[in-house]
């Protein structure tokens, strides 16, 4: 990082100022074959894992090679991506909505050359820099948030568990042998930056301790009424506290009503709730956003707490692997994880996946909780029912 003036004059901030121009127009970036065939595509094929072939009504063809990406990328890494695009794709590339990188070429020969080049690029440790995959009935890139790297409320890390889980899922990234796509997402706190609440597998950081109240500074850096009204459960009340013989305005938290959502901390930095022993992960499964066959669904809590276990998060990865493997074996073709669980019934899901069902999995949040209980005699007998 260096400071060289751009031409901006702090004394005359409006001088030469350009504002409200928005992003660049997308057409400037289209590869020629895209520009020509836009809106005129006939059909597509997935030639092999990671390689799409789109055929235009014109007869034109574009091959897309999809490459896994870590999302948090250095300038150097992006320059290397640019170099590849220049070498093989006339300088064009794109990013997908799940943060993979796509290189587009027009012939099979070009595909082969591109893939050979990609395969040759490795990290120092020997692992692939640009793994090809992420198409069809696969595990694509894990959408995730910033975690310890760059956010202030995380209850778990992002890059760490993502890497650990993805290593375990890597064969599914490079193949298409699952019954349907399995979308895995991670959010490091309940703010859930991303569609984690509607993912086949959602990894979500949670706190388990009510916030610390830093009485000595709360009144200086927060507004008490804002902190009080931030709480969705009404657990926060204004309170007078004595510090060094002086009465100060602060708040009191009713621990038994707190569900550790962290919204008070968002509004008031004097109420942190992160904690080494308290924090960890909740595992949610069965969500989806596509309207294919069934309507979009929320993910459901199947493991209420998994401890943070850096650097390899063994419990988390084991559980996810278990779920994905049972699903792969049991579900029907085209059936998403949540569709499968609903078809067989959640009691069977827990049995087959060998997960413990705890009282934490039962909804107790507000009125809608009632609708998740079972108002029926329809259920399957599983080992959960004692003989």
């Amino acid at each position: 990082m260096a400071f060289i003036s751009s031409g901006y004059n702090p004394d005359k901030p409006m001088e030469n100022r350009i504002t409200d121009i928005g992003p660049r127009h997308f057409e400037e970036f289209y590869p020629p074959v895209i520009k020509k065939n836009k809106g005129q595509w006939d059909y597509h094929e997935i030639v092999k894992p990671g390689v799409l072939k789109h055929v235009g009504l014109s007869g034109d063809v574009v091959y897309t090679v999809r490459v896994g990406a870590a999302r948090l990328m250095s300038v150097t890494h992006i320059r290397e991506i640019c170099e590849i695009a220049e070498k093989h794709c006339g300088g064009h590339l794109r990013f997908t909505t799940r943060n993979n990188v796509e290189f587009m070429v027009e012939t099979e020969a070009a595909v082969d050359a591109l893939i050979a080049d990609l395969a040759s690029r490795k990290f120092a440790g020997g692992s692939q820099k640009f793994p090809v995959g992420g198409t069809g009935a696969c595990v694509s890139n894990i959408v995730h948030t910033q975690g310890y790297a760059h956010c202030h409320t995380p209850a778990t890390d992002a890059s760490g568990p993502v890497k650990a889980v993805m290593d375990e899922m890597f064969t599914y990234f490079q193949s298409m042998t699952l019954p349907a796509m399995v979308r895995i997402s991670l959010a490091c706190c309940l703010n859930m930056c991303g569609a984690v609440h509607c993912s086949d597998i959602g990894i979500v950081g949670i706190h388990r301790k009510p916030p610390i109240v830093e009485h000595d500074r709360l009144d200086n850096i927060c507004e008490v009424p804002l902190a009080v009204s931030a709480c969705p459960t009404g657990a926060i009340k204004p309170a007078k506290v004595e510090i060094d013989g002086k009465k100060v305005n602060s708040v009191a938290v009713n621990a038994s009503r707190c569900m550790y959502c962290g919204n008070c901390y968002t509004m008031c930095p004097a109420m942190p709730l992160a904690s080494g022993e308290g924090d960890g992960i909740v595992l949610m499964v069965g969500g989806k956003v596509s309207n294919r066959i069934s309507m979009p669904k929320f993910s459901k809590v199947v493991v209420a707490f998994i401890p943070n276990e850096p650097p390899r998060w063994p419990t988390l990865t084991k559980m996810i692997k278990q779920i994905v493997e049972v699903y792969a074996k049991e579900a029907r073709k085209y059936e998403r994880l949540g569709e499968w669980a609903e078809r067989i019934g959640w009691e069977k899901f827990f049995e087959l996946c060998d997960l413990e069902f705890t009282h934490h999995c039962i909804d107790d949040f507000r009125d809608p909780a009632y609708y998740t209980w079972r108002q029926s005699t329809q259920f399957k007998f599983t080992k959960h029912i004692e003989a």
């Binding site: 930095p269 209420a304 999995c361 009125d367 005699t377 259920f379 959960h384």
Partner: protein
């Protein structure tokens, strides 16, 4: 009624000047016999009393199940009670904040689907809980209903706080010869429940196998098979071929809790609490569940709060705690979709306390 707190609903006419004869016009509820079988002799006895001492109008039966006698005056009330107990050997029903008169389907008395003796359970509990029935001590009304099987002919899942619904845990019994007889048209599907309209020839695959909600049935052209581990005992195959397909032999009941009408917070159906219980005299296991629930609800329930509302307010988890039942996936249609999970302090290492100093060493202000 002296010493009772229920069974009579005070009714006072809106227009006493115009209709002085019915200025007060109370309703008397009599406990109906389980299953609602009667002899003419008994009914005539009741009618004679009502002819003499009441309006002569009845509601046979009220929605809860009582014999409801509509309209009498205050002085007649004790007389009616005296006659009914002395002459008819019958008691009043419930009203107010107490156990309401329990009701049942006719169960095994005349139904091949019954998984337990609804009438015996209904009668036994009604008698064992006479005190709760007559002397209001509850936050609000409490209703028992007993269905012999998941068909729900007394609608217990919709109309009772405590719903006992018959079920079984072993395999559905199939008589393959009779299956063939159904396919051949010798038995009518549903026992003839759809006669009088041309639905075409009975198609066992379309009408039974493909309608099974779990898809756990198959028919190979001769033999009907069920993967019982995946059956949810919905009764459809049994209802459709009652002579050939029968409930299992290891029968019992599921217990569901909390049904209520819309006032105040919206209607509820009962929610599954005990997936399977053996139903045998003296019914101690069932009574234990009931009494645990009552103890809790009498302690925690607000005035005019049905137990369904109490469990909604205090959580299903709390209900499990007070009934000593372990959480299991059968309790839910689906696990929660929000991650707003409460933990008990003892579930969190170090409890709810933070090491504030250590925290501020890692995170400067």
């Amino acid at each position: 009624m002296f010493g009772y707190g229920g069974g009579v609903i005070g009714r006072y006419c809106d227009q006493p000047e115009m209709f002085p004869g019915v200025a007060h016009f109370h309703t008397v509820r009599l406990a109906q016999p389980s299953g609602k079988y009667y002899t003419a002799e008994y009914l005539r006895g009741i009618m004679d009393i009502w002819d003499l001492r009441g309006s002569g109008l009845t509601n046979m039966h009220g929605s809860t199940g009582d014999i409801v006698l509509l309209g009498t005056t205050t002085p007649q009330l004790e007389e009616i009670f005296f006659d009914v107990t002395h002459k008819m050997n019958t008691d009043l029903g419930g009203s107010g904040g107490n156990l309401r008169t329990p009701a049942d389907c006719l169960g095994s008395s005349r139904c091949e689907f019954a998984c337990y003796d609804t009438q015996d359970l209904c009668h036994t509990l009604t008698n064992d809980y006479q005190d709760e029935l007559h002397r209001p001590a509850f936050p609000y009304k409490f209703k028992f209903k007993f269905d012999g099987c998941p068909n729900g002919c007394v609608a217990s899942i919709a109309r009772s706080d405590f719903s006992v619904i018959g079920t079984w845990k072993d395999d559905i019994r199939i008589d393959q010869d009779r299956v063939k007889a159904y396919v051949a048209g010798e038995f009518k599907p549903g026992g003839g429940s759809h006669s009088g309209r041309d639905w075409g020839k009975f198609d066992i695959v379309a009408e039974v196998v493909d309608r099974c909600p779990t898809g756990c049935m198959s028919y190979d052209g001769a033999k009907l098979s069920i993967d019982n581990a995946n059956c949810t005992r919905c009764m459809h195959c049994i209802n459709t071929m009652p002579a050939a397909v029968k409930i299992g032999a290891e029968t019992g009941a599921s217990i569901l809790l909390g049904a209520k009408a819309p006032i105040l917070d919206g209607a509820q159906m009962s929610s599954l609490l005990v997936p399977f219980v053996v139903v045998e005299q003296p019914y101690d296991e069932i009574k234990e569940v009931i009494e645990n629930i009552w103890d809790w609800w009498m302690e925690e329930g607000k005035n005019r709060e049905r137990v369904g509302e109490t469990m909604k307010r205090l959580s299903f988890q709390k209900l499990l705690e007070v009934t000593n039942i372990k959480a299991m996936p059968q309790h839910v249609k689906e696990p929660r979709s929000n991650p707003y999970i409460f933990f008990k302090e003892e579930e969190v290492p170090g409890g709810f306390a933070h090491d504030e100093k250590a925290y501020r060493q890692r995170h400067m202000r």
